[in-house]
Amino acid sequence: MSAEAPTSHRFPDNARAALADETLQRGLASAKVGFRVRRSEAAARLPEFETLRDEARDIKDHVLAHLDLYLEAFETRVTERGGHVHWARNAAEARDTVLTICRAAGAKTVTKGKSMISEEIGLNAFLEDNDIEPVETDLGEYIIQLRHEAPSHIIAPAFHVPKAEVAETFQKHHTTLDPNRPLEQPRQLLEEARAMLRDRFLAADVGITGANFLIAETGATVIVTNEGNGDLTQTLPRVHIVLASLEKVVPTLEDATTILRVLARSATGQEFTSYTTFSTGPRRGEDLDGPHEFHVVLLDNGRSALVGTELQDVLRCIRCGACMNHCPVFGVIGGHAYGWVYPGPIGAVLSPALIGVEEAHHLPSASTFCGRCESVCPMRIPLPGLMRHLRERGFQRGIPPAAQRWGLRLWAFLARRPRLYRLATALPLRLLGRLGRRSGRFRSLPLAGGWTSQRDLPAPQGPSFQSLWDRAGGRREPPR
């Protein structure tokens, strides 16, 4: 559903609405502190953490330089184990592939582990339109599915929903239960979801999961969960479908292991996630359980076009969520304002890269370039640098409004001519300094409404930095 109609082009309105949403503000305030503290404690407990980040980055860079070869190797191994690999250029092809498999299995209900690719291709709405019921089984995803909402965080999809609203949602949907049952405590809500979903796990015809990694060496797909829902999803039904994007492949079990060491620590601050599961093909002849069919859908959807470009580094992302947990912008507007599947700094790069700067040009501008995202990214993705590149791309395509573009051009013209720059700025600065002498600030100013509508503009005081610099005998030319 979110894939059908991104609202990233309405980002300024979305952000304004989010800032005014008191429930959201409370959720954000409590969530971010916990995530940050737990990550930094986990990193501090492992002296090799920074070395592992370097190695994790290098593994993915090596993979991206040989992506075709590793995907072919992965495909060969899956096929040898009796599984099937399906290639999809775009969301529509991926949806059709899933539907074909579900129809062949005569599926009525499909259980689902958490998958961002499923969100990206809008799978749930599509399955419903085709009379197949998708059931999200991750607790957070289940809550927002019942509420017909999109995830607001890639690892805590329902963190914006307070428990009282979860209780209301359960009262409304779990109609077979006693309406007077107590539902105030998180424990009671969890128990109820566990009981309701247990029956769905057992009845499902097909289980769909995402993949944190694909292993070229063995043909394994890897999922990482704390709840165990992904494992029930993929073990109980007759058919298991894995949705994965191309860049999830890594060479060996050792390489996956190295990245796993930084994944959970960066995401939730755990030493290791409760369940890390490597799945290779359907059940073997003598096995007592496991799926009879094993399918992997490999989705491109714009990623191959990023390989070998300035944006390639974004494909190292392992979806831990650390960048958004540490982002001052995400921290006050939450995930929905970003208007597409991936929020926060990673979304500010990935969304314009995948759905285009025309739709998502606001997102890379929604950054203070404070650099926290890059400093915590386990894969060392230079997120601010990539955002800067996307801003340039938007500028070159003439996306920002004319006044902004001409303003920047004028500024650039002057900035390259220091003498002219000083001349052009001296007079207005002196004027502003004189006008604002009494109060020291401006409540409103012509042409600066974007600034003064939110806060006062301080009046310039005394001589400029450059004249102070001159007076102190500072040099203008950089040292040779």
């Binding site: 290639w87 999809a88 607790l139 963190f159 394994a220 369940y275 599961t277 290779t280």
Partner: protein
């Protein structure tokens, strides 16, 4: 459609990677896949036998698993029965059809009602062995197979895992090496670190989301009763 898509995606990637020599690239990939070289293994993943045991217990308990140490194999059934009694859990249990578990004298704990097989929806307690126990993070490594059905790891409310000291390894990489040495790659490898949990409701951590609420590890220190 699928063949076209495959060629389109791979073709785009081949063009995009801009390699000087495809032969050299293919050789590099082949070598890396065959060599499965280790990256950095943290110091805590390189301990000796005593260090491993202590770290395993510390890490497992830190993620809400419980651990009982027994000095000999004959102590295992009693340890399982004691645990179930202590947690007020039923003594009817589903046990993996694993020959390794036959080594323990289950008849000596007559209160335990044991059925062997895969996990069923009605099971409250499962008992399995493990392929390895990884000290680094207190992680259990289980392999799917007729002797160790995956459903036992996820359907029951309580999962009891019997681990022998010889199965203890220092790091995940040691586990992979042991697996490669068996010459088989099972359908499923489960790394299990503590019981199931969720913090999806207001960031409040709770155990027992969809998988087991209790994970209990019986660690057998000695290899024989001799």
């Amino acid at each position: 459609m699928n063949g076209d898509s495959r060629e389109a995606v791979l073709g785009a990637l081949r063009r995009a990677t801009q390699r000087d020599s495809n032969t050299a690239a293919a050789a590099a990939v082949k070598e890396r896949l065959a060599g499965h070289a280790r990256n950095t293994v943290p110091a805590r993943g390189q301990l000796d036998r005593d260090g491993m045991l202590d770290l395993f217990v510390e890490q497992a308990e830190a993620v809400d698993a419980t651990v009982t140490l027994v000095s000999r194999p004959s102590g295992v059934p009693g340890a399982v029965a004691d645990y179930l009694r202590g947690e007020n859990l039923p003594t009817r249990l589903r046990m993996a059809p694993d020959p390794k578990l036959d080594a323990y004298p289950w008849d000596e704990s007559p209160l335990l009602e044991i059925e062997r097989g895969k996990g069923e929806a009605s099971d409250m307690v499962a008992v399995t062995g493990a392929f390895a126990a990884i000290a680094e993070t207190g992680t259990l490594m289980l392999l799917s197979g007729p002797d160790s059905p995956t459903t036992l790891n996820f359907l029951p409310d309580a999962h009891i895992v019997v681990v022998r000291a010889a199965e203890m390894v220092a790091c995940y990489e040691d586990g992979w090496d042991r697996l490669r040495a068996t010459g088989r790659m099972p359908r499923c490898v489960n790394f299990i670190t503590g019981p199931s949990r969720s913090a999806d409701i207001e960031q409040t951590l709770q155990l027992g989301a969809h998988g087991p609420r209790w994970l209990h590890i019986v660690l057998v220190a000695g290899d024989s009763d001799g």
